[in-house]
Amino acid sequence: MKKKAIINARIIDPSQNMDEIGGVIIDSKGKIEEIGKKINKNEISSSYEVIDAKKNILIPGIVDMKVFVGEPGYEYKENFRTLSQAALAGGVTSVVSMPNTKPVIDNVSMVDFIIRRGRDKAKINIYPCASLTREMKGEMMTEFGLLTAKGIVAFSDVKRTIQNTEIMTRIMNYASDLGVLIMQHAEDYELSKNGNINDGEIATRLGLEGISDVAEKIIVERDLTLLEKYPCRYHINQISSSKSLEVVKKNKGNGKSFSVGVSINNISLNENDIGEFKTFLKLSPPLRSEHDRVSLINGIKENLIDVIVSDHVPEDEESKRLPFAQAAQGAIGVETLLPLSLELYHNKSLPLNKIIEVLTINPAKILKIDKGSLKKGLSADICIFDLEKPWVVKADKLKSKSKNTAIENRKLQGKILMTFLNGELLYSQS
């Protein structure tokens, strides 16, 4: 590969506190050779392929910690190829793939399969997550050691929660010794049973059964209590309410070490957006009140929430065009993750640096992977975007195989121009 020089970019890399106009030199192996303001047009040898970023913003490729791929078993919803296209168009270069496939990724041979498929078909970095328990039944833990040796970066039952406290205790205890990452979905089933949306006025008006924020808080509290005794690498996939955030605040204040994620949906939308039964906004955890939404954004500001995820859940039309109670949960989001996050910059909710931090270096640190940073020697996974460019989300223009976006027709500002993986330009806005 020819050496590349990207020049004239505003580089924002929170991993090295960098926000400056400059350039990046990518060596012939696709690694970062040099980066920063010292790189300008005059210093570049003519043998380099030069890319002028035209003052647009250059960041490390985004790391999305919660993405459902669809392979195996749900190829009709998404596959590695379509996911890669969507991700690259969104500046996302690394994803953690969820194990709630058919069959579930809960054993070594499934991991082999997923890694092979990912390598052959995906155009982005796939970091597979295995289930915490066999078949995600919440009963017997999976082989944390063997699976990690095969390349698993985290363990999660995705949309399912370990309800049994004794089993959760053993999982955390065992995991604390191996140093594996446990990612919990926080939901008490007895409290959320039959629930569809946030418990409150909207649920009462629509006549839908509600999911109380207590259902989430109670699991967060339980797990953080257990964490005191069994200090493992613990991550809460997504929190959705200010009540859970209070618990997080109290525990982080006490010096406990754990991490917390939030879905872009929960900080960009609220329960009112559901209108008259828009099933594309049926999500798990559910969209909550405006107060919750604002609290979560403040949680990011105060470092209580560490990452924003897309919670990319592709669903076919048939699973969504149903009465609300029967419709599937989830929305796609990997392609709109950054542009929708930028809305929080444009409406002055979050500083730009913070947004980039929670999308790049923070998830990489939690996962302990060498991504989300443009330090010298690392792979040149890069996203270049135009911060100001306005556009309108249209489901049929999105690259995902499924079109269940929660933000159809939303006017966004900020568009991805180019995405590089290992120094190779894989997406360029035409």
Binding site: D199, G200, E201, A203, T204, R205, L206, G207, L208, G210, E276, F277, E318, R321, L322, P323, F324, A325, Q326
Partner: protein, 315 residues
């Protein structure tokens, strides 16, 4: 030069009756006024007219119902429509067909109006997006039952002359009740004050935001009320899941002659049926023609449904 009109089919905006929430006060009053005229017709010896002759009405019932379904059935027939009733027990929906596919199938038969009852809140809204005839909601999940509220309103007007300024108590399982929700919206709209009375476990979150006062005490909730609407309470909710027992519920929330004294002197009782005698209401009280409007509700139900069919049926 005149520009030739493009041959574009203009889809007329169809009006549906999906809930009281979507209804304007004018529309509500139009239905009630129209229904009044049908009361006389229904009491006469020749009850059939032909204003809906040639029209097709489909009753699509996903939940068992006796009075609502027969009421709609009769209403359509008295107006001269061809009425077809589909009960899901023996339809393709049991074989896994989705609501939308059923809608498309029925739509292909060119109905003029579809009456739907469904266990899921919002199902009539979904149906209305997929068919090009009017849809009338005959009860969806726990969301709305607009014709029940309208017939309740007509019954009250018939007896009390008006709704404005009245104080109405709705008592029982508010949480699971579409009748309660529709009545809250309609009675509020028509100028009544509404109290809801229920044990805490059967009271929905933020119910006050719908414009009511909520009570857990019959004495306070019934105070100076002109109308007492009792709701059916389902047996399966009585054995410890929502309530400790039937007798405890009856003790605190069952309507008895004594408790009725908390309400205003000439208070009247209503119940959407079917009743659980001795559970939510004292059996003699339910049959006391001086205070109970239960039979009148059923009678006027047909008139209200005739009015709805007439007004909403595709022109």
């Amino acid at each position: 030069m005149a520009v030739p009109k493009k041959n574009v089919a203009i889809k007329n905006e169809i009006n549906h009756l999906l809930g009281i929430q979507n209804l304007s006060i004018l529309e509500a009053k139009e239905i009630l006024n129209q229904a009044k005229k049908f009361i006389t017709l229904n009491r006469s010896s020749s009850k059939k007219i032909d204003i809906l002759r040639g029209k097709t009405q489909i009753n699509l019932f996903f939940e068992p119902s006796t009075r609502t379904q027969s009421s709609f059935d009769l209403a359509g027939k008295r107006l001269g429509a061809d009425v077809m009733s589909i009960n899901v027990g023996n339809s393709a929906l049991k074989k896994g067909e989705t609501l939308i596919d059923t809608a498309m199938t029925l739509n292909a038969m060119h109905p003029d109006i579809i009456v739907i009852r469904h266990q899921d809140s919002g199902a009539p809204n979904l149906l209305s997006q997929k068919v090009n005839c009017a849809v009338i909601n005959a009860g969806d999940g726990r969301r709305e039952h607009p014709t029940q509220a309208l017939l309740d309103a007509l019954t009250i007007i018939n007896r009390k002359g008006k709704i404005e300024g009245l104080k109405i108590a709705i008592c029982g399982d508010i949480l699971h009740s579409r009748v309660a929700r529709s009545n809250i919206y309609l009675m509020n709209m028509l100028g009544a004050e509404v109290n809801v009375i229920a044990p805490k476990t059967l009271m929905p979150e933020n119910i006050e935001k719908l414009g009511v006062k909520s009570f857990t005490d019959m004495k306070k909730g019934l105070d100076t009320c002109d109308i007492v609407m009792m709701l059916r309470i389902q047996n399966e909710r009585m054995h410890g899941s929502f309530l400790p027992s039937k007798r405890e519920y009856y003790e605190y929330f069952g309507l008895t002659t004594e408790k009725l004294k908390y309400a205003s002197k000439d208070a009247l009782i209503m119940h959407p049926g079917p009743m659980n005698r001795g559970v939510e209401i004292d059996t003699r009280l339910a049959d006391d023609i001086n205070v109970s409007l239960v039979k009148e509700q059923v009678e006027l139900g047909v008139a209200v449904r005739m009015a709805c069919l007439k007004i909403y049926c595709k022109k």
